[in-house]
């Protein structure tokens, strides 16, 4: 039974039926009696002082119930939105964190920043009221640019040079020595383009306060409802934790953007308490563009030192990271511990030094977006490695192979604070080269040339660090939270099972994958297992889903809880079968006295536990229910090799991906079908970053120019191809599943593969993302002009 449903089986998803029949239940699908609607007044300016705000006409507008501002929040003791990770600068000083009120007071610092909320009987009434707000703005100079932010006017009082922190990692002296002694030094300036996450479900919140019980229920689109409850309770002061229930039902994609604690859910919860009626808000897409935390936005300089044979000697990186106008919930950690630590990649570079200056600008806050820091590190590293290969006249695959951490060198400690537990990078590369017919590329290039087209091929060998851990280390590095995960398994009296996880599924398929883990462990069918998540009133505390952590950390907690169930079941079976617990075997859902045919099924043991007529009540409590918290010893380290092949039309710059190959090592895979889907989606987002997507602000006015799906190029079906996938397996050595995590790999590995392929096709050294036809065509023209002129 469990071979078909357990670990490794390509099981169809349990959650699908409700989604394909229109029975999913997303936050905006929930309505409460007497519900009011919130419309937020948002700054039309990138930077302005609010001289005054006349709310009188809005207040008397028909159907308007209340107009609330930041002053009202302060009166009610609702605190600013915190950043949960403390970073220290190289001089030891703490990062400079400006206050981030849920509704701004006095000054607005980016276009779209909410400064008031109008609450009405209907959304239309609230909108009509909001249109009657009369703010008097005094515009101030604004800066949206990352590179120049340190030399523009400060946007927060007391934060000179708009510098949040100046952080470093690694041995600068050793790296400088490596650069000084190198035969070759490759230098590259690299921009990592700013992205807008755009989960297709817009964010939403519904606050529902019950004055009779003093209980506030907040329905919201969160990737981590328990964490939202903790932050909203302990830091924002919305309600005591036991009087706050956060429910995130079906959530339509997150990609990081739904991790964070935003203004709108804070305000809906608070306003519901204040007005004693449910208050609902659902973002329209324009608000999503303006307000959901953006991703990436790095400007870097990198230098790679190599010896005469192409061995990497040192890597020095200087990065400016744009934080936006305020610090989002985890924004400080993304360009530091999730970026600098990844700069060794798959290679044995002995000396690495990175400095990161994170700056404030008049833009939407920036935080984790699929990959979060790791795509930025991978793009930088795989671009400079590719460039080195070309400039040294080496095969890019060979240069990588020469520098890879060998298979027998694990565990491998990098010079940037990580210890990789396991991997086989050469095997991934070999497989990817074979699957992509790398050897046959010159012939394909020649054939394309004969047709007037330019073909290019690009590699990318990535590493990522998932399942951020252990909590003790995270705490030492400045994290304000733990990074364990919890699980609870309730065996019901009839022998079926309800599993509660602290992770949250918003597309990842946990209801199936976790059920497969339990099916394998307890020997019961998938239809006997229900996985519950997303409601703080049901499951115990958990940390949620991000950073490809759910299986490696949450799945391991489920394994641990399952083991406890089996251990107790063994004791019950021993009593019933008159044997010693150590003589009881448990296999395929049956407890058996070793070497006999004396046996009890899992269901019989469950029944005995809840109807304990014949039960060792003196030694054992009735019931069969166990909880577990799992705190990993280390990160997990998925890795892989990607190959992208493109064809460029030199007449137009139009670039077509003709083949995309991805070979990943995720350790043990529970459901290959789901894992492949995760890789597909990640690659699509990575290709989006590389070829289509760019968040653009007007440099003068600070207005968001890419504020709709008509202006921001989302990848569509006809922009992409089918992807060729394969795997290499080296199991994670420190979690019970051997699992490494697969959610972000595609978005991390693919952008450099694409840009390496396009620059190979058109023969240029650098090309900023996204490589639009205009950019490719312009680069080609500049290239041919240079050739003609020389």
């Amino acid at each position: 039974m469990t071979a078909e449903t357990g670990i490794g089986a390509r099981v169809r998803r349990k959650e699908d039926v409700r989604f394909i029949t229109g029975r999913g239940r997303y936050t905006d699908d929930i309505n409460r009696p007497g519900q009011l609607h919130a419309v937020f007044a948002r700054s039309p300016h990138a930077h302005a002082r609010i001289r005054s705000l006349d709310t009188s006409n809005a207040e008397t507008s028909p159907g308007v119930v209340a107009v609330l501002t930041g002053a009202d929040l302060a009166t009610d003791g609702i605190g600013p939105l915190p950043c949960g990770w403390m970073i220290h600068s190289r001089d030891g000083s703490p990062m400079k964190q400006p206050p981030h009120p849920a509704l701004s007071v006095g000054t607005v610092r980016y276009v779209g920043e909410p400064y008031a909320v109008v609450i009405g009987e209907t959304r239309a009434a609230a909108q009509a009221g909001a249109d009657l707000l009369d703010p008097d703005f005094e515009e101030l100079p604004a800066n949206v640019d990352t590179a120049s932010a340190q030399s523009t006017a400060p946007i927060h009082e007391g934060i000179p040079n708009n510098l949040c922190y100046d952080w470093t990692l690694g041995d600068e002296a050793a790296t400088d020595a490596a650069l000084a002694s190198a035969v070759h030094v490759i230098e590259l300036d690299i921009v990592n383009n700013r992205l807008i996450p755009n989960a297709i479900e817009p964010r939403a919140a519904l606050g529902d306060y019950d004055a009779g019980t003093d209980m506030l229920t907040l329905y919201t689109t969160s990737q981590n409802p328990h964490l939202a409850r903790l932050v909203l309770s302990a830091f924002v002061g919305l309600a005591p934790e036991h009087k706050l229930r956060v429910v995130s039902p079906d959530v339509g994609g997150g990609f990081g953007s739904k991790i964070f604690i935003y203004s709108e859910e804070t305000v809906c919860g608070w306003a519901s308490k204040r007005l004693r009626r449910p208050v609902k808000w659902t973002a329209d897409r324009s608000e999503a563009f303006l307000n959901d935390a953006h991703g990436r936005d790095h400007v870097s300089k990198a230098r790679l030192a190599l010896d005469a044979n192409g061995k990497f000697l040192g890597l020095k990186v200087s990065t400016i990271a744009n934080l936006g106008a305020y610090m989002s919930t985890f924004s400080s950690s993304i360009p530091t511990y999730l970026y600098g630590t990844l700069l060794a990649g798959q290679y044995t570079t002995p000396a690495i030094f990175v400095e990161v200056r994170s700056v404030f600008t008049n833009t939407t806050p920036v935080d984790a977006y699929r990959g979060a820091g790791r795509p930025e590190a991978t793009f930088l590293l795989e671009r400079i490695v590719e460039t080195a290969a070309r400039e040294l006249g080496m095969d890019p695959a060979e240069l990588r192979r020469k520098n890879m951490v060998p298979k027998d060198a694990f565990p491998y400690a990098t010079p940037v604070a990580l210890v990789y537990d396991t991997g086989d990078y050469q095997a991934c590369l070999d497989k990817a080269l074979a699957l992509s017919d790398y050897a046959g590329f010159p012939a394909r290039r020649a054939a394309a040339k004969a047709r007037g087209k330019l073909r290019g091929i690009g590699l990318s060998c990535y590493i990522e660090a998932c399942g951020l851990a252990p909590s003790r280390l995270a705490g030492q590095l400045g994290a304000g939270v733990g990074l364990y995960e919890s699980a609870e398994i309730r065996v019901n009296p009839t022998g079926n099972v309800t599993v509660f996880t602290g992770t949250h599924s918003h597309g990842q398929g946990h209801e199936t994958t976790f059920a497969q883990v339990v099916s394998s462990r307890l020997g019961i069918g998938l239809d006997q297992i229900e996985v519950v998540h997303g409601d703080t009133s049901q499951g115990q505390f958990g940390m949620g889903t991000y950073g490809s952590r759910s299986l490696a950390v949450g799945g391991s907690a489920i394994m641990k809880a399952s083991d406890k169930i089996v251990a107790k079941g063994r004791k019950i079976a021993a009593y019933l079968l008159e044997a010693r617990p150590e003589d009881i075997d448990f296999e395929d859902g049956v407890f058996r006295v070793r070497g006999t045919n004396q046996a009890k099924t899992f269901g019989e043991i469950a029944f005995a536990a809840y109807v304990p007529h014949n039960y060792p009540l003196e030694e054992l409590e009735p019931g069969l229910q166990e909880t577990a918290f799992y705190d990993p010893q280390n990160f997990t380290y998925p890795a892989g090799a990607y190959v992208c092949e493109v064809e460029v039309d030199p007449e137009t710059g139009v670039t077509r991906i003709v083949k995309f190959t991805a070979v990943d090592d995720f350790g043990q895979v529970i459901n290959p079908m789901i894992v492949e889907g995760q890789v597909h989606g990640g690659i699509a987002q990575g290709i989006g970053q590389a070829m289509l997507e760019a968040c653009r602000y007007d440099r003068e006015s600070g207005q968001l120019l890419t504020g709709s799906m008509m202006d921001y190029a989302m990848p569509r079906a006809d922009d992409l191809v089918n992807f060729d996938l394969d795997v290499v397996r080296t199991d994670c050595t420190h979690n019970p599943l051997g699992a490494k995590g697969c959610g972000e790999a595609g978005a991390i590995g693919s952008p450099p593969a694409v840009i390496n392929a396009i620059t190979d096709a058109i023969g240029v050294r650098t090309l900023d993302m996204p490589a639009t036809p205009l950019k490719v065509w312009t680069a080609l023209q500049a290239g041919s002009a240079a050739v003609k002129g020389s």
Binding site: R18, F19, N198, I200, V251, M709, R716, L720
Partner: protein
Amino acid sequence: MTVKVTTTVNGKPVSGDVQPNTLLVEFVRETLGLTGTHVGCDTSQCGACTVHFDGKPIKACTILAVQAEGHQVVTIEGIGQPGNLHPMQAAFQENHGLQCGFCTPGMIMAGIGIAERNKGTSLSEETIRAELEGNICRCTGYHNIVKSIAAGARDM
């Protein structure tokens, strides 16, 4: 001022009093409570609100509820139910054509339209990709959606 709309949704006559500027998608979701049809953008780009209007897929955010007067509207709830799935719904599950599920109803409704428009031809991957241009998915990279629509079309 409200106006009365009388139309047929999923084969049943329905009516409701709405503001004249109410969009069909708002009527379906808010007046009728059929929340399977989703809203993903403000600019008729994402296709999450795709329904069938007199048998053809349209974006329900592009027309007013009053324009549905006297027409036949079918939403995702109307094409198949748990235990009795439409072949296109079954194909999405079979081929892992969905992840978060938010764009899925629109994808299935658009997919049925693609299958019907190309009936009698061998439906190529290229055709599916081209005709799916009006529906955006952020999760799947389209690989398995394309596969699902091809399979669903074969079974229809």
